[in-house]
Symmetry: C2
Subunit: 442 residues, 2 copies
């Protein structure tokens, strides 16, 4: 029986989850992998912190350098998060040729290219299943399970906090700020909510998925991001009446050269994270609460969906254990790295600018309830070459100004933004005016 | 660049799908795996058969032995199906130490144990991702992605034909026989429908998943199987009114020793394939038409779901390509078999008899519409110790006999069957009486 030592760096939620799961299921892992995986270090910042798990005293230290350098350490788990110390930890381990398992999407999204290069130089593996949708083995699915597929599109609900907030707004009729405050009180949202609700966390994950799927590095600054702060209860209600739900949706779509709404070159993709109306009948619409899901269309396999918890100690620990098992198998098989952390397939990959995206839209205006209003609005749209697929003036709203919903055919985003600005300046239109993408997945 | 030759045995739907996909995406596979995978043989039974794909003439032969023995052949794809010639093909290749990729669930379910042993003896890999839910990389997910999890339960919709028929019965109100006949005409069901509608195909897949998940071999004869022939339009309607859908559901549940409805030993599992009422709000209820889905609860990861096409040339080809890529990586990495086809974890595994299963049930009776009927029925149930959770006498039924639905609390299957027989003999009860499992997934 081969024994391998794992140094866990980080005593937070994820570190505790991994420690607990690895201990509890060690017998199972021996049976399944033929390797005894044991923890030889747990590195924490504060020894005295109260934790849900009691670490074995002899394993705990505060010196990550010593833990990594320990000749007995075979595999390093970087589980502290952040992009400063975490980066140094990963680099230190890789330079010693030791495989690293990490759950750190921010680090990889920002520094992945250089870290992957460093891993390759040193012949060490860098494993990051836990960095995207922890409970869903999506990295393995993309790189191995769907290896024979060109990935036409990937749509994802990648942030559990946003999905939880949107689900509650829909179920209870609350407004964003109230639901967020309550979610923070209950521990479903961080005190600093920006990373989640402004879409940055989903952006990091989206960048990783896009890079893996399309074989060129997609950095955060190439991704259009819009969070959920601007989604009002009114939008959720109107979307519901029209047969839609609003989700914070990540989209990674290949623009095909034939039969497309776009005139595109090979290797052009569209990448974004933004609130989106999706049909209630679509399976992604049934993904509620803190759950994540990823919907993929491959040119060979057709449509597939993967669903699970995106975060939390259990989901993340499950992914980390899977990576540790992979690292162990690679290690005992002649220290090969079986599947490289990132493989470039193309030197021609391009993310097309957000303004050039063609999409359907939901437009919500607040307008004066008087004759001539509709004529003025539709004139602007007509002059912009934007087609309206339906107009809804919801019942039950009275007074000088009433809501008006326009559902818009395929239109370029730049044209939509311009038209919305023009419309907002009309004297019959009161603020706020709003546009939200609509996705029918075809 | 390493080149590996793949011999494809079988020129049917799957063989054509693999040929086409491997040719179309060969560049992508080179980039992703670092290996050039090329087809060196396509073995067919009939050269002159009309096929959707035109095989390169120089590759085609009718002699599978020669193709396997060809020293240039590195990997063998067994894609003919059946359990006779297919078995000889797999054995021949393994004895030569050549890795085999197969989509053949019947073969593996019936002869897996001996074939896996033969593979191990000869140091050759045996890959079978395509054998269960083709479009869903479930074998990889179970063995690698969730390697750190004890699998509490696995529920699956594993037969696309049955799901298609049930979905249409629900949507259109048709009866089983009519919908089946139409499905056969349209090519969604085989002329010989028994393998599908009697649950045997799902049984083969369930046996493989149960064996992998629980580490002991579960053979087909240990699995309780009931198909969908007996599901009537009336059951689908009543289930709908009560908030359920009827699905052909595979269940693989670990009986825990604590907090269970069952008094169970460690390593006891319940394995079945049968029509089941599931709540409309559960995500498995939104799996419609020919799609497959597998819902898994792992002790670390919590709940996860995987969804995709279960059959068809594309879905199966995607899985075969993934296995070919795995076989190729194993081959070039010193001819290791990285993940063994089957690993025994326990010598104490037991499938508990169907009669001992405790479950909720839906019971449908046709009864005389007269006083005293209910008293007689409930007396039998009370004497059997079976608790009723609700009674529904649907409206709109008139005449001497009317339908009556009883929803039953947890009851042992044997007690239920006995009670149903007694009830059916009451003079106030007309045939047919029926019981169907109900699953709430908790």
């Amino acid at each position: 029986m081969r024994r391998l030592n794992v140094a866990i760096i980080g005593g937070g939620t994820v570190g505790c989850g991994v420690y607990q799961a690895l201990r509890r299921n060690s017998g199972l892992l021996v049976a399944r992998t033929g390797t005894h995986l044991q923890i030889n270090h747990v590195v924490v910042r504060n020894r005295r912190k109260q934790r849900p798990v009691r670490f074995s005293e002899r394993l705990v230290s505060t010196d990550w350098k010593a833990a990594i350098r320990d000749p007995k350490t075979d595999i390093v788990g970087e589980l502290i998060g952040g992009t400063t110390t975490a980066k140094t930890i990963v680099e230190t381990a890789l330079k010693l040729g030791k495989p690293v398992v990490t759950a750190n999407k921010a680090l990889l999204s920002e520094h992945g290219e250089s870290l992957f290069a460093l891993a390759a130089e040193n012949g060490a593996g860098l494993y990051y299943e836990a960095s995207v949708a922890g409970g869903i083995p999506i990295i393995k699915v993309l790189r191995e399970g769907l290896v024979g597929n060109r990935l036409n599109y990937i749509y994802g609900i990648l942030n559990g906090t946003c999905n939880y907030i949107l689900t509650r707004m829909e179920a209870e009729g609350g407004d964003f700020a109230d639901v967020l405050a309550d979610a923070q009180k209950k521990g479903y949202a961080e005190a600093k909510a920006s990373l989640d609700v402004d879409g940055l966390d989903a952006m990091h994950k989206t960048g990783l998925l896009a890079s893996l799927a399309h074989g060129f590095w997609v950095s955060p600054d190439q991704i259009h991001v819009d969070g959920i702060r601007q989604i009002s209860q009114m939008d959720i209600e109107f979307a519901g009446k029209l047969g839609y739900k609003i989700k914070l949706l990540a989209s990674i779509c290949r623009l095909s050269t034939t039969g497309s709404r776009h005139s595109a070159k090979e290797h052009q993709i569209q990448v974004s994270v933004c609130p989106t109306l999706i049909p209630q009948s679509h399976i992604l619409a049934s993904v509620s609460g803190v759950f994540n899901a990823i919907y993929i269309n491959g040119d060979v396999v057709g449509e597939t969906l993967y669903y699970g918890h995106g975060a939390g100690h259990g989901a993340t620990a499950s992914a980390v254990l899977s990576d540790i098992a992979d690292a162990a198998l690679d290690h005992i098989n002649h220290q090969t790295v079986r599947v490289r952390p990132f493989t470039r397939h193309t030197s021609e990959g391009q993310v097309i600018p957000w303004e050039d995206i063609i999409s359907e839209y939901y437009m919500r205006l607040t307008v004066a309830d008087k004759p001539g209003t509709m004529a003025k609005i539709t004139k602007v749209l007509a002059e912009s070459g934007i087609g309206i697929s339906s107009i809804v003036q919801p019942e039950g709203h009275k007074g000088a100004s009433v809501p008006l919903i326009l559902m818009i055919h395929d239109a370029a985003t730049s044209a939509m933004q311009k038209a919305l600005n023009q419309i907002s300046r009309l004297n019959v239109v009161k603020s706020p005016s709003k546009m939200i993408r609509v996705e029918h997945f075809h």
